[in-house]
Amino acid sequence: MWLSHLVAVADTLKHPNASHGSEESSNWMLHHISDSRTIDLEPFGHITLPQFPTINVAGIEIDLSITKHVFFMWLVSIILIVVLSLVARSYKRSVVPHGIANLVEVFVVFIRDEIVLSVIGKEGLKYLHYFLTLFFFILLCNLFGLIPYGATATGNLAVTGGLAFLSFILIQLAGIKKHGLIGYYRGLVPHGVPAFVAPVMFIVEFLGLFAKAFALTVRLFANMTAGHIVILSLIGLIFVFKSVLVAPISIAFAIFINLLEILVAFIQAYIFTMLTALFVGLSIHQH
């Protein structure tokens, strides 16, 4: 059955400029990157995930069926809950960590010292649990996209949009808790600007809040998706040239890009957490 899949891929690449545009030639790449309602375990068939009818809330159709990315997000959450609570409980027995607690402690201390304490200061420790959750969730979601049969949940605009939305809410709440509702929005405009330029500054800074959240979304989404597209394109080159001699070069490059993607997974998780901490620090220390 997977042999027929391979033949189908080769067939769709035979006519790259078909009259319908490129839906045929890049179909298989889109299929691997975007969300789907089945989990494909290629030589062994596929699993169809349970689908629910859409719920109508005030005229908006909400579709809560389980898709591939939702399934992988749940998988990541379950692994995080189990592993991290076992690690936390192991600290009751001894202060010295054993086993996987060593690795977790490296990351936790790194986030606490280099990201939260150095950027926000002691007040940031109130929000340390959010930053730790964010970092581990994004890291594990990114890494799951690189294992066989895995899918990148953070390669979905809705997932990264949701994470950026949560960070946006945290930034507002941290600022409002520190300066009060009116004081926070008045403090958006820096001190010492002339009176006629202050309204413009206010509009610019206010839109800047949304622009920061939007940038967080697109940065994580594009980094994850671009890496996968490069890997898939390199492997697709074998079918474009229709010769097996291209395979060693193609596979070597694809392995290199895969290793680079592991680095990018760590860096992107770090950047998302660091930028959220930076914005929270900016909104707390407004003067």
Binding site: S22, V218, R219, A222, N223, I229, I267, M274
Partner: protein, 73 residues
């Protein structure tokens, strides 16, 4: 005309990569110069370099996403 969209997608991707590569290479050059001049601050400089590189790359990837949408038309 989907052919024009494909062409535009290719050009857009290449141009945005030129800008990003130029910016990040200037970053890396400054970092290496600073680390060579004062090895004690090499760690902090490297952290700031990674953050700035990720921000520049974020802007580049906006353009890349638009080019992908064009190339898939």
């Amino acid at each position: 005309m989907p052919e024009l969209a494909h062409l535009a997608g290719g050009f857009g991707a290449a141009l945005s990569v030129i800008g990003a590569a130029y910016g990040i290479s200037k970053l890396a050059a400054a970092t290496m110069e600073a680390s060579g001049r004062q090895p004690e601050v090499a760690g902090e400089v490297r952290t700031s370099m990674i953050i700035s590189a990720a921000l520049i790359e974020g802007v580049t990837l906006f353009a890349e996403v638009i080019c992908i949408i064009l190339a898939l038309k």
